[in-house]
């Protein structure tokens, strides 16, 4: 088996101006041949390095931090008991949950924005995440032990998307209607969450925050397993959809005529996006605006058209890990839910996006 990155057979960039990098292809024998976007590859690798640095900082900074030099030993199960406690019980699971949640939200956002052909068609903007939060709060607080939290989140997210789909009257096509329906659904879902929390968990601000804004404090390895299993199960489907959703961006008719069934593709992407969002919400609450921002940042960085799925996942993980690091080390202290932080940052971006789309006339 030869593993090569080959130059294209044809190379013509004799023209002036910045020529696009020649198309490269990852080949494994006759089995696999996938075109590779070199710039995405470089940027993705660089972001992974940054992610590792952020992860190391998360483990080592502040009180109970593990000194950098001790981290390898602690990962091997050696070292001081306090370090092992911090790694195994406190920061380790929290970090792994943050990364997995970021990956899930980045993928969910990328899939959804691609098939709605709109940067605002994102699960957190159209009320899907809020619906999942309401479902999770009902499952955890009103029906404890009867309905598993991830299932509650999935039910809430599915209900939210069905309501949005029905009330727009145009399905998921019109971005303006999508956002307005989403605002309504999100408001109702958040009201339900408030109601459930205030009845079932009075006086516990932390509980409310984790279901309304999303929080990563006190995460366990169970949470980590939930989100990474969901991601692992979703990845094959995401990869299978990567080709069809790329073609789908050119319009339903063209997608159909190219043999990429537009309706099937859209349904598949929305279902996957709902599952990934629900999984994320069930372990971390409805953390805002990762789904909205990660795909757009990925696209700006790669300068490649299309959904940029892998890069969106990496950017999502990086944003959430960094946001959680900032929250943990902030002077306000550990109590600040990470969702409040991402909402403050993402809200600015949402405002910018609304104004831009308004000016473009897409709203």
């Amino acid at each position: 088996m030869s593993r090569t990155i080959s130059e294209p057979t044809q190379s013509e960039s004799t023209r002036g101006g910045p020529p696009e990098p020649a198309r490269r292809v990852l080949r494994v024998g006759r089995l696999l041949a996938l075109p590779v976007h070199p710039r995405s590859l470089v940027i993705g690798s660089a972001l992974l390095v940054v992610l590792l640095v952020a992860a190391a900082a998360t483990l080592s900074l502040g009180r109970l931090g593990i000194p950098l030099a001790q981290i390898p030993a602690a990962l091997g199960g050696q070292g001081e008991a306090t370090h092992l406690f911090a790694l195994e019980r406190l920061r380790g699971p929290r970090l792994v949950v943050a990364a997995g949640t970021g990956v899930a939200l980045g993928l969910a956002g990328s899939l959804f924005q691609s098939v709605t052909r709109n940067p605002l068609g994102s699960p957190d903007v159209i009320g899907l995440a809020a619906g999942a939060g309401a479902g999770a709060s009902v499952a955890a607080l009103a029906l404890p032990g009867i309905v598993p939290v991830p299932l509650g989140a999935l039910a809430g997210a599915s209900l939210a998307i069905v309501i949005v789909y029905l009330v727009t009257g145009t399905g998921l096509r019109d971005p303006g209607r999508l956002i307005i329906a989403g605002i309504g659904v999100a408001a109702m879902a958040t009201a339900l969450t408030h109601f459930v929390v205030s009845v079932m968990a009075r006086d516990q601000a932390g509980v409310l925050a984790s279901y309304v804004n999303g929080s990563l404090s006190a995460r366990s390895w169970d949470h980590a397993a939930t989100i990474w299993v969901a991601v692992a199960l979703a990845v094959p489907f995401v990869l299978a959809l990567a080709g069809p959703i790329t073609v789908n961006e050119m319009g339903d008719e063209l997608a159909d005529s190219l043999g990429a069934g537009a309706t099937t593709t859209r349904t598949g992407a929305v279902v996957l996006s709902v599952v990934l969002s629900a999984a994320a919400v069930s372990v971390a609450g409805p953390i805002a605006f990762i789904s909205l921002t990660a795909p757009q940042i990925a696209r700006r960085l790669s300068a490649a058209p299309g959904p940029n799925l892998v890069l969106s996942a990496v950017v999502g993980a990086l944003i959430l890990v960094c946001a959680d690091l900032a929250v943990q080390q902030s002077p306000v202290g550990d109590g600040l839910p990470v969702g409040v932080f991402t909402m403050a940052l993402g809200g600015v971006y949402l405002g910018y996006l609304l104004i831009r789309e308004w000016r473009k006339g897409t709203l």
Partner: protein
Amino acid sequence: MNGETTPVLSARSLTLGYGGDPVVSDLDMKVDEGEFVVIVGPNGCGKSTLLKALGRVNRPVRGKVLLHGEDVRSQRAKAVARKLALLPQSPLAPEGITVRALAARGRFPHHTLLRQWSPEDEVAIAAALELTGLTDLADTQVGSLSGGQRQRAWVSMVLAQDSPTLLLDEPTTFLDIAHQYDLLELFAELHRQGRTVVAVLHDLAQAARFATRLVMMRDGEIVADGAPAEVVTADRVRTVFGLNCDVMPDPRTRTPLVIPHERAVPEGPREREDSDHARVG
């Protein structure tokens, strides 16, 4: 098939619609290999709907479309797409895409999950850019092209699809007259190279000039089908389009040319009456 070849495409008692009253009812039509068929007709006559059904984009309410004698609905979508390409009226160019990347997307029907690239891709893409004259603009963003170039970029995408039959839905709309003819000449060239072409066009003179066969539709039915000179007559243009006209041979190509009659100029007194109304209003 005993001397007679199977048509590339045939519609069998096709009824098409979008839920309400049918747009096309019980229509039969065929396209033979090597034809350049142009479908014309007034707005809303169902010509685009018919074209989309031929391209497996619209699901017929009743009847079926056969591609080389086999129902398109019973074949795999990608297999159909390797034999038949459709350029819709208003496709969407993804943000930031280059001409080459757009053409490359036409290769989708030739890919599988694990093999999304082959040397044939490079050959087909290079040939498509060459044919549309876009080789030098391959690395330019589609968004920064002129209208005529952008339409050529879309044509290069369906050419990269490398299918022997092309369906074109009003490909010249929104282009100025020079670019319209430029594009039509390109389609004629593709036809000469052996492709079967079916296009929906608005302009009767253009349709008559380039088609080997004209199909004229009204209210979801075919009212005339044959050589351009037989189909385009003054009588028919009046009954189908509601336009009084003369039809004379084009001085260059001898194909029919429609010369509309000027509408009767309103008489003097009525004009004054109108302007009086305007003043009062």
